[in-house]
Amino acid sequence: MKLKKSIAISENGFVFNPEIGTSFTTNSLGVAVLKQLKNLTTKEEIRASILKSYEVDGVTCEKDLDDFLRMLDQYNLIED
């Protein structure tokens, strides 16, 4: 899974897709995940980094991460 190269992410959580002009806001964890996706980090590596930095159990982390990634796909931010 890879974030589209053109997607712009600002530190304050503003995400802009210049291909279709849509924008979104996300929190600091969302920014961290997006940046990792941009650097071609795998889903497993992202999950591991969240588990290391946040107090969250593995199942919840997996579910929330899957939801977030699905949402990114729906919003056309992911490329194959």
Binding site: S6, P18, E19, I20, G21, T22
Partner: protein
Amino acid sequence: MKKKKDITIAVTGLNAIDSPGPGISVIRGLKDSKEFNVRIIGLVYEILEPGIYMDGMVDKVYQIPYPSTGFDVMLERFKYIQKNDKIDVIIPNFDAELMAFIKLKPYFKEMGINLLIPNKEQFDDRLKGNLNDYGDKHGIKVPKSESVHSIKELEDEIEEFDFPVVIKGKFYDAYIAHSIEQAKEYFHKIAAKWGTPIILQQFIKGNEFNVTAIGDGKGIMVGAVPMRKTFITDKGKAWAGISIDDSKLIDMANNIITKSKWPGGMELELMKEDKTGDLYLLEINPRFPAWVYLAVGCGQNHPEMLVKMAMGETVEPIKTYDIGKMFIRYSYDMICDLEKYANLSIHGEV
């Protein structure tokens, strides 16, 4: 620093209303020109077009007759205007007036007025009712469309479509009909305002994009900026928009301008289908859009380019523009003295 060249430019479309004409955007682009020191002549059909009363927009205003009053009446009016104010270039900004300006063009040339507008064939080719043929001719996907002149024709033709169907006027207005009853209602509504034919067009579910583009008339696209509407009024007009980075939209504009050898400004209305990602051409408007000042804000001054080309200069194509630049319209109550209104009412000029 190079001295700016003095030039007088006449502009129509000062109706900066909720469905705005492009005049004010065009004037703002011209006033931003680094090459021209412009004197602007506003040409208005109605004396309450807001652009007349906006500060710093027009230096002189003339009321002109509607094209429906006839060619001779228009020509006489322009002869009078040209005698008073030597116009170098006219930029017409309404679809509905363009045929009259095409007919007037040779007479304008004799008067020393320059235009960069399509010829009759180019104008007719992109008419909404001819869009299917246009798509075939240029290898462009177009939603299925049919022109109808009566309710009987509508009833017959609409059977070939799946609902929803877009019901469109020949120049302006479009409604989405979900049933035959709605389609008939919209037929009457649009026909009463703009006449027939009415165009039935297959509805495409997806995101709408627009491109403002300009051609040199010899097959070169000298500028293009694509935009997505981010706030749409109940009339379907963009109240806000953002410039985007999509090479497919630019390629589509380039394809059309190159193949049709389009002279002057145009706006493409395009739909990217959700299901397939395919790009459909919905309309070609034969003039700048009301949001053309966004192109200026993005680094491409299309009105300035048009003036240069109309004056016979060669313009180098600009292929870059700022991405993620937004425009947002606003409404504003101007307080105006009666004098200007009164003078325009009595003398037809101010």
